[in-house]
Symmetry: C2
Subunit: 290 residues, 2 copies
């Protein structure tokens, strides 16, 4: 299955929109299979290291995964004063689980992914991302995340919705019905985040998810992650919180954890929205400095 050759160039191409594509030159295809839910492929690329795609869409790469995984994890986990229980919906690659376990208060992380094959393939081919999945604090459940959340009550301090794009198996993860179930599944000071696509290329989605969150959670905020392999440079993440506002964290809240992207200043940076994003959602005035 190797494509390594000096003369024959193999390229993986994703049409990020009908009219925009990203291409990564491929050294070798490591895995390719049709699971019960989607088409999975793992490739070794020259520029971004090992790449996971589902249904032909880039999910994560070894080179830039830290940006998305750190932003999806450390922002909500710092917004909660002492997160002990964390639920990850989707995210079978394990990147968010790895980041969540860096917080010393975390006692349990439940990962619910509908597709066991994603988890198995990532354990085999993406060890730097999936490395924490066998940690004793982690429980991996192969089942429907929506059903799992609907049955949970007052159970999780933080819920992280690491979904694929809102087509195919992930559609139900973008509904008000599901977010209301998330509210009930959260504990008293609970915090939820969900990936929300590109504000430049998919502004309606960002607006819709924010408005839905604002109607369900006492505090709703939008922040950003800059993911090179996702379209539009800036990726939106929506946060819902029962009590704590991520814009107003005390300095002592920030924990001394090892990161490559996140810092307390990057936390605040992420909520300082470019004007065109602010106009889709709301003004946000994070407090930096002393």
């Amino acid at each position: 299955m190797t494509e390594a050759s000096k003369k024959v160039e193999m390229w993986f191409t994703e049409r990020q929109t009908p009219h925009l594509a990203i291409s990564l030159r491929v050294k070798e295809t490591l895995a390719r299979e049709t699971t019960p839910y989607q088409e999975l492929a793992i490739m070794e690329t020259y520029e971004f290291g090992t790449l996971l795609t589902l249904d032909g869409i880039v999910q994560t790469t070894v080179k830039d995964e830290f940006i998305y995984h750190e932003q999806m994890t450390h922002v909500p986990l710092h917004t909660h004063p002492e997160p002990k229980t964390v639920l990850v919906i989707g995210g079978g690659d394990g990147g968010i689980v790895r980041e969540a376990l860096k917080h010393p208060s975390v006692e349990k992380v439940v990962l619910v992914d509908i597709d066991e094959r994603v988890i198995e393939a990532c354990k085999k081919h993406l060890p730097t991302i999936s490395c924490a999945l066998d940690d004793p604090r982690v429980e991996v459940r192969i089942e429907d995340g929506i059903r799992f959340v609907k049955e949970a009550r007052n159970a999780f301090d933080v819920i992280i919705i690491d979904s694929t794009d809102p087509v195919g198996p992930a559609v139900g993860l973008f509904t008000a019905d599901f977010y209301r179930a998330v509210l009930d599944a959260l504990t008293a000071e609970g915090v939820v985040v969900t990936q929300t696509e590109s504000p430049l290329l998919n502004p309606d989605m960002v607006k819709r998810v924010f408005e839905t969150f604002a109607g369900i959670f006492p505090i709703a905020r939008v922040y950003t992650a800059e993911v090179p392999t996702y379209p539009g440079a800036i990726w939106a993440i929506t946060l819902g919180s029962k009590v704590h506002d991520p814009l107003e964290l005390p300095a002592e809240r920030f924990r001394d954890i090892e990161t490559k992207f996140y810092t307390p200043w990057v936390h605040m940076r992420s909520f300082a929205l470019p004007r065109f994003v602010e106009e889709l959602v709301q003004e946000q005035r994070p407090r930096f400095g002393r």
Copy 2:
């Protein structure tokens, strides 16, 4: 020269690195010529509107140009308390000139581009970007930017180096020799910025330019712009300043100008560097909030 067709798809592809490519579907080629300095092409794309390329590299698009042009302009112009004279090196599309003229104190903008054909083509095909080039406060000079700067003394409050990538005609714009000439061309409270490539894909460049700036200008800072059509999601911009620190601007400094990206909070956001960028250059602690 039209490629519009339902069956025949035309795509422009740029190899952003030898192993990474971006492709934009093209409706129509509007201009294509070999100038004395480079190959120029202007295309109408489906996703990003009109696109300018030089030597096959994306320079700007109508859809996302505001991000780069606003960040290159409003950060240095707000760092200076009352900019009257602005020099733009390169930037023949006129986007930075348009933004600079939004500041009421600005009396004169000199644009020095070595390639008259870029300016002419942008005037014709990119009117929303080049619209300010005929403003009476603007002087367009077709000459070598390096020579122009070397002959200037104490002449400009702000200098903006809007270069192409550091290959071909722009190589000399990335040297310590040139930056020393910039220092002399600046007035007493002068500020300079230069585009500095992708910290993820070209970290050595970011480190080298920052260190060179730090050896020449009393204050050296690095900030970011998120440009979807440039590789790596985050683009670095290096700032040199004689007196004023962009991290410590008084709230009253910010002018009421119309923007789509920049706000006072976005200003501070841009200096809150992700840890991997901070480690290339330096810790920066912008002050936000009240």
